[in-house]
């Protein structure tokens, strides 16, 4: 099956184009956009880890190393498309236009953290693994019923492929020909469990065979192949040709969450090695350099702008004020039931007493 589902690549580790199929579309402008968005994602991620260390937010789920997969796929979306991320996909949601402030608020444990900007169809992070594949199928099916050319993209990890909902999601999508891209980030681990213990199959892409839909395996650290293959899949979906399963092979450098200790289950030297070789940013930087598009001053300027943006979001997060306990009561139903209302009233009375 590995031969039937070879890992596609456009840019190799040295930043050399090994597959010229899309070269005409690999403009300086696009390349720089991809780079900037990846840099932004990485800087957001590092900032979040720091905020967690400083106790300014709670447990955080880092994604460093997976920027190409997340950014390259998210950039393919158009207004009105639906995005269903996991807890690790802030690189994707940020790229598609989520509010950095709200993402920080999410990890600060604030209810507002689940709310996307108005008009942005971004679902809050799926916490129960794989459950979101069905929602993505449902919203995409709805677009099909409405006759639009919009669709859904849904993110999930290698571990998620073991859940029943993975299977049901792909089966429903294939049966109803729903315009969904199932975007798997195979980062080699589900917390401590390596992919070899998760499944006997050597690839995730081959699981598409079970549903007679296209399955694509690609180098998830090569943002060009991620971008162009996801785009092709999304275009098929828009044309009414149904769902695609994409396996983006990647790696998380860090811990599963800031509460996890990866040295318990793997050699972190591997992360170091990968940072120097297969890193998605480094690779694109090499390409930019090879092409003569890259200048340190440009990078410095971009970094400065991103820093400003992120610092602003941190300020906004901290200016947001305390989390609002009444949020707990006011959105359980459109109109509260008596039991919720009574409990809310009792809560308000207690708060008043305290004051």
């Amino acid at each position: 099956m590995e031969t039937q589902f070879p890992m596609k690549q456009i840019l190799n580790e040295d930043g050399i184009v090994v597959n010229a199929e899309y070269e005409s579309q690999m403009t300086e402008e696009l390349t720089k956009e991809l780079y900037v968005m990846m840099l932004r994602a990485r800087m957001f991620d590092r900032k979040s880890v720091n905020l967690q260390r400083q106790g300014r937010i709670g447990t955080y789920v880092p994604f460093e190393g997976q920027e190409a997969a997340q950014v390259g796929s998210a950039l393919v979306l158009e207004e009105g498309d639906w995005m269903f991320p996991t807890y690790r996909d802030h690189g994707a949601t940020l790229t598609y236009g989520h509010s950095a402030r709200n993402l920080f608020l999410y990890w600060k444990g604030y209810p507002m953290g689940c709310v996307p900007p108005e008009g942005k169809n971004i679902f809050p992070p799926a916490v129960p693994i794989a459950s979101q594949l069905l929602h993505a199928t449902g919203t995409a099916w709805a677009e099909q019923l409405k006759g639009t050319d919009r669709g859904s993209i849904v993110y999930f990890g290698d571990g998620a492929t073991s859940e029943g909902d993975f299977h049901e999601g792909l089966n429903f999508a294939s049966v109803f020909n729903a315009p969904v891209v199932f975007f798997n980030q195979n980062n080699g681990f589900a917390i401590s469990v390596p992919t070899e213990k998760q499944m006997k199959s050597k690839t995730i892409a081959q699981k598409a065979v079970a549903y007679d839909i296209p399955g694509v395996r690609l180098d998830g650290n090569d943002i060009f192949v991620v971008y162009f293959e996801t785009k092709a899949a999304m275009e098929r979906a828009r044309r009414g040709e149904g769902p695609t399963l994409i396996e983006a092979v990647t790696y998380r450098y860090g811990a599963h969450t800031t509460a996890d200790d990866p040295s318990k289950y793997r050699d972190q030297e591997e992360s170091k090695r990968r940072r120097e070789t297969t890193d998605p940013l480094l690779r694109l930087e090499r390409y930019l350099q090879n092409k003569g598009y890259f200048e340190e001053s440009w990078k410095a300027q971009v970094e400065e702008e991103i820093t400003k943006e992120i610092e602003k979001a941190v300020e906004d997060m901290e200016a947001y004020g305390p989390a609002e306990p009444s949020d707990m009561f006011t959105h359980v139903f459109k109109t509260p039931t008596w039991s919720v209302q009574d409990q809310y009233d009792a809560f308000k009375a207690r708060v008043k007493e305290e004051v």
């Binding site: 639906w82 199928t137 099916w141 049901e168 049966v175 959105h331 359980v332």
Partner: protein, 332 residues
């Protein structure tokens, strides 16, 4: 224009079909989906004729996967549709439990109202029709304990149509449970037009001063029978309540009745431990403690799985057990 409402005599299952058809004619965004709901019209014929009238795009035979049905319905509901998802039997809702518990019921709350899930989950339930194992489970309590979803249970054709229409119109998820035993047990005059029965309101079926009887679904007929017989046999007059909605429960109706009678017997098919009967006991304790003249009695299914159907009658509460509880309570 005449004010006379045109009615037709319908069984409960026909009234359910009628409710869906009535609403689907008016609203294109309503979909029906589930296993065998299309050509076959559902194993109980609850969706009979809907596919013929509304087409395969709106009345959809899904693959055999309950999590898939609920999970995709959530997506449809978040994106402009109002799905009515059928679980073939309530005993087969368990594979969808995760989707209902962590998503359908929570999405409004966790997104502060940004996304909502206006969907109805319909499911036949309960014992007494000689169905195979698992088919007869009565697990309403699993859902009343689930914040963010309402639980509605009609016991007759009129209520079924009105409550189902109210459920479809509800902006939040509603679990609509249909007692199989009552599907065809009697016919009632049901208005042809659209009407609603308010969610959260029970009904008093009979006035009486001596004791309050409380039930829902198929057990309503059991308490009606017990009330009739105990009045004839012992002159005890029962206040007979059909709760109709289990969450939110009609607190005022129950409190008012128990404050009048000072006694209560609650009847349900589900096991006593963890059953909704305990909630009713608490509600009475909370609202009417000083009025109580004797302990509240619960007559329930056993703390056992619903057994194979040859002995299911020995599992189910019946009028005799209810009468015994009434007598013990009144004579306490």
């Amino acid at each position: 224009m005449s004010t006379a409402v045109k009615t037709q005599k319908l069984t409960m299952v026909q009234a359910i079909t009628d409710a869906m058809a009535t609403m689907m004619r008016e609203h294109d965004d309503i979909l029906v989906l589930g296993e065998d709901v299309g050509k076959n019209g559902g194993v109980f014929r609850a969706t009979d004729g809907l596919e013929a009238e509304f087409g395969e795009k709106r009345v959809i035979d899904t693959p055999l996967a309950e999590s898939g049905i609920i999970g995709t319905s959530i997506g449809l509901a978040m994106n402009g549709f109002r799905p009515i998802a059928e679980m073939q039997f309530l005993g087969f809702i368990y594979p969808a439990f995760n989707q209902i518990m962590t998503h359908a019921s929570r999405i409004r709350s966790r997104t502060l109202g940004h996304f909502t899930v206006p969907m109805v989950i319909r499911a036949p339930f309960g014992a007494g029709v000689r169905a195979p194992e698992i088919h007869s489970d009565s697990v309403e309590a699993l859902f009343t304990h689930m914040p963010g979803i309402k639980v509605v249970i009609p016991s007759n054709a009129y209520d079924a149509k009105g409550l189902l229409i109210a459920s479809i119109e509800d902006p939040d998820p509603v679990l609509f449970l249909e007692p199989m035993r009552n599907y065809r047990s009697h016919k009632l005059e049901v208005p042809e037009e659209k009407y609603t029965v308010e969610i959260g309101k029970g009904a008093r079926l009979q006035e009486g001063d001596d004791i309050t009887l409380i039930a829902w679904g198929a057990m309503v007929d059991v308490i009606k029978k017990a009330a009739k017989e105990i009045e004839e046999e012992e002159g005890i007059k029962c206040d007979v309540l059909d709760l109709r909605t289990l969450y939110p429960m009609d607190r005022d109706l129950i409190a008012e009745s128990v404050q009048k009678t000072g006694r209560a017997v609650i009847v349900h098919e589900a096991p006593g431990t963890g059953g909704v009967g305990n909630d009713v006991v608490s509600l009475i304790n909370d609202t009417s403690f000083l009025y109580l003249r004797s302990p509240i009695k619960r007559v329930t299914g056993h703390d056992t799985p619903v057994p194979m159907c040859a002995i299911e009658d020995d599992y189910l509460p019946n009028a005799d057990r209810v009468k015994q509880a009434i007598t013990e309570t009144v004579r306490f």
